[in-house]
Symmetry: C2
């Protein structure tokens, strides 16, 4: 055949003209092994480079000197053979095989054809690369502002099946082609939480290094309970927790801690260990062994308050509801969680704490635990930790700082003063998956006293934590946890820390706070906007009402409140339908529904803030 023949005429070529219609997901890339000898010279040069660099360069150089066609043809043929071997040997000597995407018909392939199936390696690689293409395209578009944040559909619409996207499970397997379609559809109908204009949650953004860390974590597919099966991750957790304790300010980073499945569980840990500290017998004898124990946190609200929203003006809600969940779950009872009054910015009033401690003691109850929130969910308020710590010391109570949202500010020299006194806490919750942009989930509970976490939770399960292992079993962390198996949440965070450095986190946090200051300054005097509280926010939370022109002249009163209460939900609904941006809203105590803007997304810029404001105005103008 001529050197110029299209390789489609060669039977071995993946570039052959397909006789059957190409299925979706059929892909073509130059399949090097099927390139004709001479035409493939450069390709081989590339392969030679890629596989064994020094050898590759030599071959390439040699080839350049030999311009005789016949000679070249011979060399390339021989090189082709050698490289095939080299690829294998690369693998054996610890180098890596380059991956190549080839034309693969997934319509006739099933999960059973993938590894560990015989000859499953090639379909496995092609399938994974196909998935990666779907994911990289998703990522690319997520950062593109011309992409919608979401393509909203109601539950019944998705359940009925959107354009063939069938959520129902069946008895028989589907082809990998269908599985790839399912992957695309699952992303298509989801929400792009990494989009520069997604502001709906405390956790936003898509950190690429963190994402890579998650991909690796799931590939390693192991469990945190013992050093035996997660040696690297267990050590990373230990070192990272120590670093976090140093940043908190505990001497030499001493203490203990563990990563848990979210801030609510971290907070639950804090209540458990506080109880264990003062009443260790509860572990064996139950709550009956202790007197009536009292917990304190800033005020929390429930839906019933919302219903009474217009009549009950004294109710506020600041601290996270997880403290309440913990008090219910752990057997304290929510009535024994006493809610503390807060100032207009949502910060605990220390005098109120002391008064309520005294009151509880007078009733014969035993106050044991105070939660100070560093960064409340709605207002982003920081409780005055030092003043609360004084009271805790005075009355012998455990001080927990819930820094799930605000803990990240400890990384910023400019903003960490907002947590002044945190080093006096007995325990701290800190979620890197919120303000620090680590992918979900990543939450740490940090404890100042070493050993107490173990004492509180250990049950000494011999089948896991054999004392006669050949390594130092103090590294087995499982018995500290209330979980048995524990997901590896550390790697992505560790990798991000390596990649950004402490300074990188600091820059991210400072930037987010600068952006929220920009937003605050932009709307504080803007027509149609009203701040929920006065003064610059402490965190990135900016809480505001949008007042449509129809309400602007209206005197404050029941009618206006009722109508204003409906504005944010209506704008939000339109926002979701149009898919342009997303921001949260909620009522709070006597305040009717208002927007809570939060910024933790590294992709957000001033233009996105501008866009949000204009979008609210556009959507809300005629309400």
């Amino acid at each position: 055949m001529s050197d110029w023949d299209c390789p489609s005429s060669s039977s071995s070529s993946s570039l052959s003209t397909p006789l059957h219609p190409p299925p979706p997901f059929k892909l073509l890339l130059l399949r090097i092994s099927s390139v004709s000898p001479i035409q493939g010279y450069d390709a081989w040069c590339g392969v030679a480079h890629g596989c064994t660099r020094k050898l590759g360069m030599k071959i390439c150089g040699f080839l350049q000197k030999n311009n005789n066609l016949e000679e070249r043809s011979r060399i390339v043929s021989s090189l082709k053979e050698r490289t095939a071997k080299t690829l294998l040997s690369c693998d054996n000597i610890g180098g890596d095989v380059r991956f190549r995407r080839t034309e693969t018909d997934f319509s006739n392939l099933f999960a059973r054809d993938l590894l560990p199936a015989k000859n499953g390696e090639e379909p496995t690689m092609q399938f994974l690369l196909e998935v990666v293409e779907i994911l990289t395209n998703y990522i690319r578009k997520t950062f593109d502002r011309s992409t919608k944040v979401l393509d909203f559909h109601h539950p019944h619409q998705l359940l009925e099946g959107m354009e063939g996207f069938n959520l129902e499970l069946s008895d028989q397997p589907e082809s990998l082609e269908q599985i790839l379609v399912d992957c695309r559809d699952s992303l298509k109908y989801g929400v792009r939480t990494g989009h520069p204009r997604f502001f709906n949650q405390l956790s936003t953004g898509l950190d690429i290094v963190g994402l890579a860390g998650e991909w690796l974590t799931s590939t390693a597919n192991t469990n945190m309970f013992t050093y035996e099966i997660a040696p690297v991750f267990v050590l990373m957790e230990q070192l990272t927790l120590k670093k976090m304790r140093e940043i908190i300010g505990w001497p030499d980073g001493e203490g203990d801690g563990i990563f848990s499945p979210g801030g609510a569980i971290s907070n639950m840990y804090s209540v458990m260990i506080a109880r264990y500290k003062f009443f260790p017998e509860v572990k064996t004898k139950g709550m009956a062994a202790a007197p009536r124990l009292i917990l304190f946190t800033s005020d929390t609200f429930t839906l019933s308050f919302i219903i009474n929203i217009a009549t009950d003006g004294r109710l506020f809600s600041q601290s996270h509801y997880s403290i309440k969940k913990a008090s219910a779950a752990l057997g304290f009872g929510t009535e024994n969680l006493i809610l503390l009054n807060t100032d207009e910015r949502g910060r605990v009033i220390p005098a109120d704490l002391e008064a309520k401690v005294i009151e509880a003691k007078q009733k014969g109850y035993v106050p044991i635990y105070v939660n100070a929130t560093a960064g409340t969910t709605v207002y982003g308020a920081f409780d005055p930790i030092n003043e609360i710590a004084d009271i805790c010391e005075k009355y012998g109570m455990w001080l927990h700082v819930d820094g799930a949202w605000g803990g990240g500010l400890l990384m910023s020299r400019k903003h960490r003063h907002k947590l002044n006194g945190v080093e006096r806490a007995n325990s701290v919750t800190w979620n890197p998956h919120k303000m620090m942009g680590v992918p979900l989930q990543c939450s740490a509970i940090l404890v100042r006293e070493r050993g107490i976490l173990q004492g509180c939770n250990s049950m000494c399960a011999g089948y896991l934590f054999q004392p006669d292992k050949q390594y130092d079993v103090t590294y087995d962390t499982g018995d500290k946890a209330i979980q048995c198996g524990r997901h590896v949440d550390i790697f992505k965070f560790w990798l991000m820390w390596k990649a950004k450095g402490t300074v990188g986190f600091e820059q991210h946090i400072d930037k987010c706070l600068d952006l929220s200051a920009y937003l605050y300054n932009k709307i504080k005097h803007r027509e149609g906007f009203e701040m929920v509280f006065n003064g610059e926010p402490q965190h990135t939370n900016v809480c505001f009402w949008y007042i449509p022109p129809s309400l602007r002249g209206m005197p404050d009163g029941e009618e206006r409140r009722k109508r204003l209460h409906k504005v944010a939900p209506k704008i939000k609904a339109m926002m979701m339908e149009s898919g342009t941006t997303m921001v949260g809203y909620q009522p709070q105590g006597d305040k009717v529904n208002f927007f809570r803007m939060v910024i933790s997304n590294a992709a957000a810029t001033r233009s996105d803030i501008d866009f949000l404001i204009e979008e609210i105005e556009r959507l809300g103008h005629d309400l």
Copy 2:
């Protein structure tokens, strides 16, 4: 330049001979856009195919007819231009841009150069593809039996830094090149839990579709608490839980449930909701509002028993220690968890349960909860659910079935009879991440009574669960959970179910149980092996001692027990040092250390079982 010039002489080519030494991770693949016109003819043909198939085929056919060199050169030049446009238009019309790996110098790139950085798209794609190459190579090798299961190092060795692998975090960022090295090293010093010879845990194997699901999950990076930000995943969870309830046998799959971070938390949920069912006032008033509540489960052991191992022969341990952890955490106290006697196979003796219920009632205590284990951790025993259910009904107690490990057998028509009576349970824990091979973590708590999970845990946090949203808010699941944010554990499972079908899970489970029967039959009469209990195991757990020749003639007694106790740890240590395979061991009650073999790994074959046995013999022969 001649058509035959090596493109390295062209300044635009990525195949140019590198003037600087190629850094690690520098990659070469044919960069199509830089191929010289004529030589690139075939490459262009491929591109034409890949992007727009019909057009591509036309062009390719046309090119084949035109063998004139000059003409070809002209066509290819024009094609190159057109295809560049086509690639863009592919993107715009909803198709995807093919990804291409190009030569990238990561030593000068940092996390800050990735998206959302300006011009960050290309480095982002190259970085992610590089990571994917690391991962696909890891996967490839994981399934290759010539690869070690692990490369063991002691904690102090890893902490000191292995060949430049430095776990310490620093203030300044590291280059992406170093980040990629860190990724490789993290995998290198870890444990290949997907290796066909990894039998150490109940969760083993690496399911490719499940893995793809996890990669997608982390890319979507969202949270399960509301439909608003996880519409697809929330519905998938709902449908999958319903399917699981149908398989359990609850009428029409009615009931409730949630995915939780592991079996221990799922079991904790079951205790919480049982308490709420009988004493809902505990939620608000604490345990003080209830009488002394009693929980039952099969016997559990603690390390202190191991120390007394030679003297105390009556102590056994069957059920999972999470029930004990829950009793401590939730304020019952471990003393109010009563351990039930089991038969020689580790199954609860129902008469003992009834006797202990009566005894507790006579003391004035209130028995409220029985945990029946379906597949104990060590023996793989299935408690007789129907007989336990009879007693629960008689005395008005909550029946929980902990099927974390054995629940998967419900998928097998051949083996599901081992859970007969499960449909009578009030709640069931079922971990797809164990027997069903779903990547970690994936655990469900399923509840027969609808609404009770919500009643038990809801705190109605208005900032999350606004009742005035535009969609049906009953789909917001967050308030059922004790967590706030909740990791998306459903997608990988849903995707695997789609890809395998119910029948695929059944085949997997049947195969694993067949393999364990093979192992059992192989060693039950083999010299040097002794079974821990007689008869075929109910689950894939095969428990046995290896008796080295030095102990074979020795009469049973203290000396032999002491020496035998040390055999399994020694063999395990050598196994880990040599890295060839991994299997667990532990003592149990009066039984000195024995091996517990479990099979949940889809990659395992009879040859791997043979290998394990021979490896134990090889390593233990001279002990």
